[in-house]
Subunit: 423 residues, 2 copies
Amino acid sequence: MDTPQLALLLTGNELMSGDTVDSNSALIAAHLGDAGMEVGEKCTVGDEPDKLLASLDRLTRAYPAVVINGGLGPTRDDLTSEVVAKLAGVALVENPEALAHVESWCSRRRITPNPANLKQALVPQGSALIDNPRGSALGFALEVNGCLVLTTPGVPSELAAMMQELVEKLGVQLGGTSRHIKRLQTFGIGESSVEERVKEFGADWPDRVSLGFRAGMPQLELKLSVDSEQDLPEQRHAMAMLDAAFGDHILGEGDTRLAARLQDVLREQGKSMTTAESCTGGLIASMMTREPGSSHVFGTGFVTYANAAKQDQLGVPETTLETHGAVSEPVVVAMLRGALSRSGADIGVAVSGIAGPGGASEDKPQGTVWLAWGTSEDLRTHCAVVSGSRSLFQNVVAAAGLDLLRRHLLQLPPLPHYFSRQA
Amino acid sequence: MDTPQLALLLTGNELMSGDTVDSNSALIAAHLGDAGMEVGEKCTVGDEPDKLLASLDRLTRAYPAVVINGGLGPTRDDLTSEVVAKLAGVALVENPEALAHVESWCSRRRITPNPANLKQALVPQGSALIDNPRGSALGFALEVNGCLVLTTPGVPSELAAMMQELVEKLGVQLGGTSRHIKRLQTFGIGESSVEERVKEFGADWPDRVSLGFRAGMPQLELKLSVDSEQDLPEQRHAMAMLDAAFGDHILGEGDTRLAARLQDVLREQGKSMTTAESCTGGLIASMMTREPGSSHVFGTGFVTYANAAKQDQLGVPETTLETHGAVSEPVVVAMLRGALSRSGADIGVAVSGIAGPGGASEDKPQGTVWLAWGTSEDLRTHCAVVSGSRSLFQNVVAAAGLDLLRRHLLQLPPLPHYFSRQA
């Protein structure tokens, strides 16, 4: 069976001027994908009634359902209800339930509804309301030209709160299959490498399990989907195959982030960590402390950007800096030893590199970085060259630093191929 | 004269599945806006030849120009050249200049061009090439149905590198007026406050200067546009009015970031800074070191998340922590004094707060933060409550910390109203 397709109609001048990047359509598409439906076309126009009307007319004739996003606000620019009513040939009427919603929304904010607020209670005659638990603008559903038209607000948090009801309504109309999806977060492995490994499985890979990707920075998400509950054992089997092939790269299920996973591992082992950062300038510490609960495992971090700081804060000997330069194995080792002894942490990571622009030399090109990680008894080092912009360099090095700690604690292969490829 | 409009046709399965958020169309729209042109409609479809062909046919009949983004890569999914040729009724031919470009691109990477690479040298007969300085995929321009069709690659950095040539070609076709735009970066003032101030100017505000906004995090960009060169004095006059009204919030022109501005101020004054971070956990240091050249003004940062770290790394007395708690004025003052004396920096900022979730008490709700900033002789403090998520809290506090240093160095009002509003 072909996957049922629908159309999105996005409206708003801010989407046309480039002032706003549209993330709503990706949110809608991802939810629809999980429910076995697809977006066949996205059309985006400004707050112009003629264009909105013509686009909606065209899309309702080509697709069994159209989701409109935006244009439900209280201002005169918000034209969605008006345009849908006009195309359907019905009047805009005050809906008692919508009116109660607007009045209750206003009273919670201790404001008296003004005409602009009350405009949000007007919907095309015959529409069914879609609840908005977060805002004043309700959505509605109406059949136009034999097509189901659903309207949603442009505010991302309000849209997100309405997605479940929206997807249910669309599933009834389009008959999407409710797919069962497992998402895995990975680090240090690319889409093409994963695809190669799966190809090597050949006929062993369960053919009812489809594999998708979502590239994030710095992680790669894998999606394993099956169409029915009977296929869940196959999904588990496929997950076990991936785990056997490159389980050391798998951080966890759902939305697990690298720093959150490292925090979990540290907690499980009752250990604490520290950081000694030169070229990443606090980014590793910042990634750790972005996660709630980080105070249980991370107490002290050192940002030693200058040589003097490496000496004063970490006790790196001046002669080591002079003899080998700041970007060298002896210096990151001394940084790590200093950070471990001064913080009292069990494990740590130290980085020193050339983020650029500037600072490079013939034997140490821009992107060169030395890392040291581990404990004072079991300390490892590695030199890599990470090409790309300053910000890419910092992000990759910081993420790799966290991953090397995770690998060390879990006794996984210490030097994954993302470094051998880079160097 | 009405602003000339064109259409965008975006292609790629990743845009339909929700795996990629489209930022390219906002980039194109912003550049066109600066050149006095507008996007009238955006249409997005997957890599399906029939849909691409039908959409392109429709848009070429409705608009004087269409920019296609995506589908120029080497794989079989990349259909743009083929579809344009088909609609124009011409053959795909190997373009010698495009072939040379692909060959040189491959040779710089020390790879032999394979058939997939060579496919990128095929363009519709009669097209003019658009140079791609960053990648293998050249764009091209061709008139179809009396409409100028321009093609561009989907990789954002490659698209950005081609924007100037693209805008020039479109300007010739559409006759956009080259608008004169000044962009100002501000911090700590909201769109509605700026609008109120401008309203207060009344008739004094030069009416040929239009004011636009682009909300970033944490900055707000103001755009002052005039349509012709004769109006440049009015634009300068308007800028002077804004400067007089809230110049302390203006960071600079163009893309100036808060941390880069602070680096400039420190360099101009020949001073260095340090950071002592609890609740922001390294984010302030990371924002500073993200900017190239930061080593000239920032040598040492302290991430003292735990109380023990505040004692050991910064010399905060145990009794102060016990008596007042970690989130208190005496503690941030001691943190700052410790950071200044141990780093030898001229000026610094210290923060300690409750980022949440958890850690709050009756008299110190989640979002409470104490900041201390300045020099050992001239030290200020402030307590604020910043509501919102953990990540919003950390971003706002870190940005405010940088801004307070900037204000201190420039002798601007130390406590802008963004704090009085929050507290």
